[in-house]
Amino acid sequence: MTENDEKTALILLGCPQVPVQTSMALYLVHGLKQRGIRPVIAGTTAARKLMEVADPGRYYVSEMTDLDVAIDEITEKQRDFDLCFVFIHNDSGIAYAGTMAYISKARLYTLIFGEHAEELAGEIEFPCEVVAVKAVHNPMPLKRKLDEVMQWAAVSKQ
C-alpha cells in the first residue's frame, strides 16, 4: 500500500536450500511488475544474495529488505502490503506465513514446494490461498500453478 495507491506485494523468501525458489521468485517478480504491482522482496541474506546475483542489472528486483526488518515494520504499523507471497519448503516457512496471516492485512498466498509439499500444506491452519507442488529442481510444475495464482492476484487487485 502506497500513498499514490500503487499496489504492492511482499515476497517472503525463506531458506534458499531448494533450487526452484530463486527462479520462481524472479518469475513472480516479473509477473507482478507486468500487472502493475510493485514487488518488495524480504528474505534471509543468502536468499537476497541469490536474487541480486541472478539479476545484476536489476531488471526484475527492485526493493529488497531483511526478513526481520519487514516483520518489524508491519508489526509496528509503519508499512503493509496488498498482497503477500510466502515461499515455503519447511516448517519455518509455515511459521513465517502464519505470522504474516496474523500481522498483515495483505491477501496471503502460500507457495509450498520441495519434497514434502503436500505434507506441509496439511499444516496450514490460517486463512490464505494455498499452492502446493512437489517441485525441487524443475520449476515448471510450480510455474504452472503460479501462473494461475497471478491471475487471482490480478483479479484481487481490481
Binding site: C15, T44, A47, I94, A95, G98, T99, Y102
Partner: protein, 93 residues
Amino acid sequence: MGSCLEAMKPEIILSQASFKEAREYIKKNVREYHEVEPGYKIHDVHIIGVPPLYVGVEGEDLIFPYTKPCHGTFVVKVPGSEDIARLRARKGK
C-alpha cells in the same frame, strides 16, 4: 540468530524443532507461561508461528521459541530483565 540474542549466549533447550513442538515444550515444561501474538519481540527476536505462541518465565529467565528460516525452531533461555514485567502486565496466563 539475532545479533542481540546471540550476544546473550542463550541456553538452547530444544533445537531444530517445529514451532508446534516448541509450543508444546513450553506449555508442558514451564510452569509460568504467557500467550503472545505472532511478531511479539523479545530483544531483537520476533516470536514466529501460528497462535497460540507461548513465552515462559522461570525465575529471572525467559524461555521462548526462536525460529530460524533454515534450521527450524529452537527453544532458548535468556535473562529476562524488564521483559518479564512486560509479559506479566499482559492479559492471560
